[in-house]
Chain length 207, copies 3
């Protein structure tokens, strides 16, 4: 699916599929909440599932990852159908929060790694990790006309920033890629998990 | 205007200009409804007229179709001026709905054809058709801060999906391009026309 | 930072940094007004600071200007931190309006010049100037869920259009680049300044 296979272990690529599916589900769930049609379910699932990675690929000059394969969009369409066919009472919102936490951590790490693999400078590579993890959700919220995840004080973007930033620092420090990826993703997931479990949030500006 | 001229009949290229003009008018009309200035009219006309095709070209890696010619933007600016100089009472909203239906059908077919011509896989090529037809209107609605066409149950995105999907299926089946394009565009236009004439819409999720 | 250095005087490149900083501050100020967290400050500063130029580079097929250097994002992050650490009472809103006016004029001129340097046709090059100056602010407003600068009758987009349009006309007329750039930027700044000082605005559509 990606173009820097020699630089990235196969396991990380699996995380790519996992991230797409989790984010597609979160897009379809918002469509369900807003009582939309099946077509809107699919549109939201696709925009949320591939939005962040698409923006990353456009910015780093990589071929957009879902354009030359059918698999990515089919995953999103399947996620939308699954949610459409399911009663909302059956969907454990809390379980999804945890899958989403894993998706953020995996995607932020993967996005930063792909950017570095394309020769992007460290600070923008860190930005690409954050964008990969968060832009899908931002696009979803803008399309639905609701306050963006950006505007919530939860440690959401922050968890993505921790994973992406840690990966870039470890990579610059010369740590082996699988180790750097594992440490970064686990740190991001842990921070997001603590935010979910304990309701942690960032302080707001008081000026 | 496009880069795959050998693969696409000239007639379809004319549809490109037609689609831009129709969508530019719909952008300017929203600016009129919101009592905006002439500069906003032009901005909305351009964003709506070329937005969908721009996103498609970025995603498939094609040069953005309006960047190397003056014609496309001048069409949008002319459309904005025409609406600005016209009293709204003179504009037949119902007539515009039908032109817009033709624009959707033409653009969805054209977008899918251009994507296939660039070697895009069938499922994403279908997505490109839908995006070409609908993204301009979505961008227009987001800029104006109003609920997106995505969120309405009308058969709008669905008609684009029918045209794009049918074209891709016929193309994969080896049908001659002009035939496939005509069948797909007519089917999409018919579905959208029935939705306009009879008020058809999709069922919403009840969960 | 840019890829057409032979065509553009060094001074104009400094204006690039200046424009990024001014727009980044305006993004962070909106985050302050909305009582957001530091992470949101940074996100808004980056999106507003580099958003317009990013869209321009994607559209004209140039490498995105901030991806291969650390400086641009660090400027945005520094701007966000500076606003975060400052009491709002200390920020002279009126002073910022004037810096922003200079940013618009500089960026519109620079954006049109960069587009022409990439072989873009005159009308779209004019559009690229407007987009470079205004798209960052539009993205900022959409992310924050507030009415876009597009929808305000102030001479904001218009000032960018004057600078970009004048530059393209002078360039097509064969005027030396530094002269064309200076005349265009000063004209755009003057128009925006008059709008600020005298409350000038464009007439709205009455239809």
């Amino acid at each position: 699916m990606t173009d820097f296979s020699p630089a990235l272990p196969q396991a990380l690529e699996l995380l790519d599929y996992f991230g797409i599916a989790v984010f597609a589900v979160s897009g379809a769930l918002l469509a369900a909440e807003k009582r939309q049609t099946l077509v809107t379910f699919i549109f939201f699932a696709v925009a949320t599932g591939v939005g962040g990675g698409t923006l990353r690929d456009l910015l780093i000059g990589a071929p957009v990852f879902w354009v030359h394969s059918n698999a990515m969009l089919l995953i999103c369409i399947a996620a939308a159908l699954a949610i459409w066919l399911t009663s909302r009472r059956w969907i454990a919102a809390r379980a999804l929060l945890w899958f989403d936490a894993a998706g953020i951590a995996a995607y932020a790490t993967y996005g930063a790694a792909k950017a570095l693999g394309y020769g992007v400078a460290p600070v923008p590579a860190f930005g690409m990790g954050v964008l990969t993890a968060c832009a899908g959700g931002i696009i979803r919220d803008v399309l639905a006309g609701q306050p963006s995840i950006l505007m919530r004080p939860e440690l959401y973007v922050t968890a993505a920033a921790l994973a992406a930033g840690l990966f870039v620092v470890l990579w610059v420090a010369g740590i082996a890629l699988p180790v750097a990826a594992a440490v970064a993703a686990i740190a991001g997931f842990t921070l997001r998990g603590l935010a979910i479990a304990r309701g942690w949030s960032l302080p707001a500006y008081r000026g």
